[in-house]
Point group: C2
Chain length 303, copies 2
Amino acid sequence: MSVDYAQLVKTGIALTDAALERLLPGTATQPHNIHRAMRHSVFAGGKRLRPLLVIESARMIAGDLPDGAADVGAAIEMLHTYSLIHDDLPALDNDDLRRGKPTCHVVYGEAMAILAGDALQTLAYETLAKLSGDAAAKIEIVKEVAIATGTGVGSEGLAPGMIGGQVMDIEGEGQKPTAELVEAIHRSKTGALITVSIVAGGLIGGASADEVMHLRRFGQRAGLAFQIVDDILDVTQSSAELGKTAGKDTASDKATWPAVFGLDASRETAAELLRDGLAELAGFGARADALKAVAKALVERTN
Amino acid sequence: MSVDYAQLVKTGIALTDAALERLLPGTATQPHNIHRAMRHSVFAGGKRLRPLLVIESARMIAGDLPDGAADVGAAIEMLHTYSLIHDDLPALDNDDLRRGKPTCHVVYGEAMAILAGDALQTLAYETLAKLSGDAAAKIEIVKEVAIATGTGVGSEGLAPGMIGGQVMDIEGEGQKPTAELVEAIHRSKTGALITVSIVAGGLIGGASADEVMHLRRFGQRAGLAFQIVDDILDVTQSSAELGKTAGKDTASDKATWPAVFGLDASRETAAELLRDGLAELAGFGARADALKAVAKALVERTN
């Protein structure tokens, strides 16, 4: 693969930030404070990994970057940000810092942080509904995104969405995690949004049902591998390397992959999932190189 | 008008509750607690006014109750319920009781109440995306609903959505309310969701652009009148008559219509808005009788 990954990331961030800048109301728009709170968290220096997956998946399917791909990525980033804002609240993880900056509720208060999270979820759906192009593809994206971020109402009973994973994560704290629980949490809490980023990118690019199936299988494997690597890094890296508090999962007795399976087996599983995931993209030939490079980078990262 | 209003309400509640029962995951669905929390608040005895507006608007346009109208009503009720759950949180209004029952966070804790509200918003969009029928109508409903419940990104700068109204309401507390502020809060916090109920009902019924325009104008007037009446009742009725704490708005210095304009002018304005709203339905002839009866009942109610 002759893909310049650093360039892909740079372009992905630029496209995503431009879309978010355009889609989020300005801080001069009434009521001011909620728009300031939304922007505070959306522009807190995220790596825009999910939008990058949307963009490269869309580009692979359509051959070139299709209209609306950056907006779909921005909508998914809004959903990711809303989940972080609510996760950080005192009643949940009670985090004062994220990416080295004070969290939303620390700066704007709890009430505004709750409402800013709510509003980012709302704005994500407004953004998806306002995409130009085929209404059927748009409604399919709304459906996929809602299922992936919900509690588990989806077609696959075993893979609830992001909120379902969050609930299992909270309820599992302090209990000895089982293999089933940690897999269910990882697939839903992180995996579902990563998977739907790839699927939604395909849909905005005009993917066929068969292509969507392969994208979904790729996404499920890459998403799970991503979270396993997150768990591994939490154990093996220092806080300085991670840019966040290391060892926090262990300290709070979170259900993690290494806690259940050990570090070596975790590394093997992540590598296997990546290999199996990449194999799903075989039919796309060299067109899949960029998307493959993103997946590899996510799993082989060190922070 | 020979409409049996009590019968309309009974049918509306039955249709809505059946849809909600079918759409909300059961309490035996993992993770249990969030589904219990969602059902606790959704089935806490709401009057289902917004779904009733959806149903009667859809019925007027389509001639008979169209497929999906009850589900659109259920989706809007989920959004209404999510806003109540988050409003009641300690960081916002800090209400322990609603409709005489303990609020969501009192029973399930703050973390679960935040996530249950989040999940109801998500499930509303999943519900809308899964409607059968015309994709263009569905995506239009998603767009209208998202704008009506957002912060003010809509096409009308003067009428932000539900969350925008909530923010202005919180920020306005303790300040002397102006006529502009109280109108902006009422139009957005309550009026926008009532208006979109009527518009979405029309859309699922197949309304033309001209019909949607009249429905929207009717909804804006009925929605504002509804909230003015709410303010009047807060001043004039006892807690027992209201089934909630009377005088709470005054006690917390909320921006209310009577506080700015006085009781008599408030009553006149509500009656005028109702009259102007009903006039928008003139073109529908006798087909509008049921929808008119609902609007009249909302404005002429005593609790």
